[in-house]
Amino acid sequence: MYHESIIELNGISVRKAKGLLLGGISLNVSRNEFVGIIGPNGAGKTTLLNVIAGLERFEGTLGLFGRRESWRRSRDTRVRIGYVPQLFQIDPAFPILASEAVMTGAIGRLGLFRSPGRQEKEDAMRLMDMMRLTHLAERPLGLLSGGERQKVSLARAILQQPDILLMDEPTANLDIAVQKEVLNLIDEIHKQEALTFLFVTHDFNMLPSAMRRAVLLDHGKKVFDGDINTALSGDRLSRLFRYPLETFERNGRRFVSYG
């Protein structure tokens, strides 16, 4: 296993009309790490992912794969970073099938004037099989359930063959059983593919088991960075979320009781 940093943030700030969204974040992530980004609403979690994904202008220095990058960057760098967004609305009548939506993950990697070939189609089928989506491949995306659409998003991001996978609350607004299913798939992907994961969430009890490290954000600042079980302490979380929270342990894992 490598321990080389593939994401290096140094004093990253994002300023918008409504104020400072990120105020000088520094963070190093090594290859194959699985890092949780946790914090209340408005802590800057999504902004942090957007900076890494190249969707947001920022101040400070950002290193990716050992090279300094700005928000404008080459296609090669973008292709190496996958993004799984929060469940988003789609018009049920929108003309795209589930398999076509998965295939959009390969478009940037293929580049202009090259159509998906047999390899891409096989990869897409394999991923849809892994996500248990094969029977839905020819269904219009807009007619799928939220959980099914999130699995399509996951398959789409992996078809891109990224080195880093950014996930922005991928299980938000899903039923508990579906959340668990998506989390298990994420763990499975972590086992199978040599990927570095950043996982944004504010739900402490729905964490992928592969997540060993947590970064806590508050008002655009990093307030903790370390082992997930240390992060999940009642005092720390109560301060962070301004609400009394208690934690308990079960099967070697910490959980949070909302009281």
């Binding site: 918008k16 009309a17 409504k18 994904a53 190249g54 969707l55 296609r75 090669d76 973008r78 292709v79 970073i81 996958g82 993004y83 967004p85 988003f88 049920p92 009548a93 929108f94 003309p95 795209i96 099938l97 076509e100 939506a101 959009t104 993950g105 478009i107 940037g108 990697r109 293929l110 202009l112 004037f113 159509s115 998906p116 219009p140 007619l143 789409r156 891109q160």
Partner: protein, 287 residues
Amino acid sequence: MAEHLLEALTYPPIQRAAIACVLCGASCSLLSVFVVLMKMPLIGVSMSHAAFAGAVLGLLFDFNPFLSGFILCLLVAGVLGPLSDRTDMSPENMLGIMFSFLMGLAFLGMGILTRTKAGALNLMWGSLLSLSGSDIWILTIITSLLVLFVFLFFKEIRSVMFNRRLAAASGVPERMIYYALLFLTGAVVSSNLATVGGLLIFALLVQPGATALQLTYNLEHFFLISAASGIGACVSGLVVSYIFDLPSGASVVLMATTIFAVAYTFSPKRRSAILKGRNKFYENDAR
């Protein structure tokens, strides 16, 4: 009656009107796929008013109205493009302001225009029967550019339509596609001032795409159905206007609305969605 129509087709102005009808239907309806699927009808309105205002100003200063319309479209695109990249303000208000400003500009131009106002009025609702050869050439070139754009970048277009941010993050040249689209919108809208005019063109920028939305989940078919319904509306509108001696632009728009209404009524998508919803309801009930 058919003989009558065929005989009419031997006159060059009628021939030009027929060709322009097909080109206008094709260009507007291909564009309408983007307008409908990328939810940018307000951008369509603003651009068509920019073309209209630009052309009126062109008339005022003895400048080619197509070019001045196109230039104003590009200026508006230059403002709208970066605006849509910003996440911290809603573009709708800005579009509303832009739209009314352009309308004001156009009417100001018409007020100052001392010569006959017929030219300006033609820009509003088109004048299919007084098209020149160069009008046809401009339309042909712009329609071909649009067709080429859709063919060459089909997979990028699908990906950008699906989700612009995801496309950008995954290395698809989303900005290139988006700006090319704004550029083509300006070109299509300003070249069609002469055919359907700046006010009625909006119907052709929405209705063909909205018609296709009722009928298919396949994006290739979507473009084809949209084109067919746009060309159908233009040609049948022209025929109706010729036979009953009605204004051509109005006939075209009303035909487009009729086609949409038929598609909506018989939409297999809408029906299956309704049925599906009902099934889901029963499934949940059973649990």
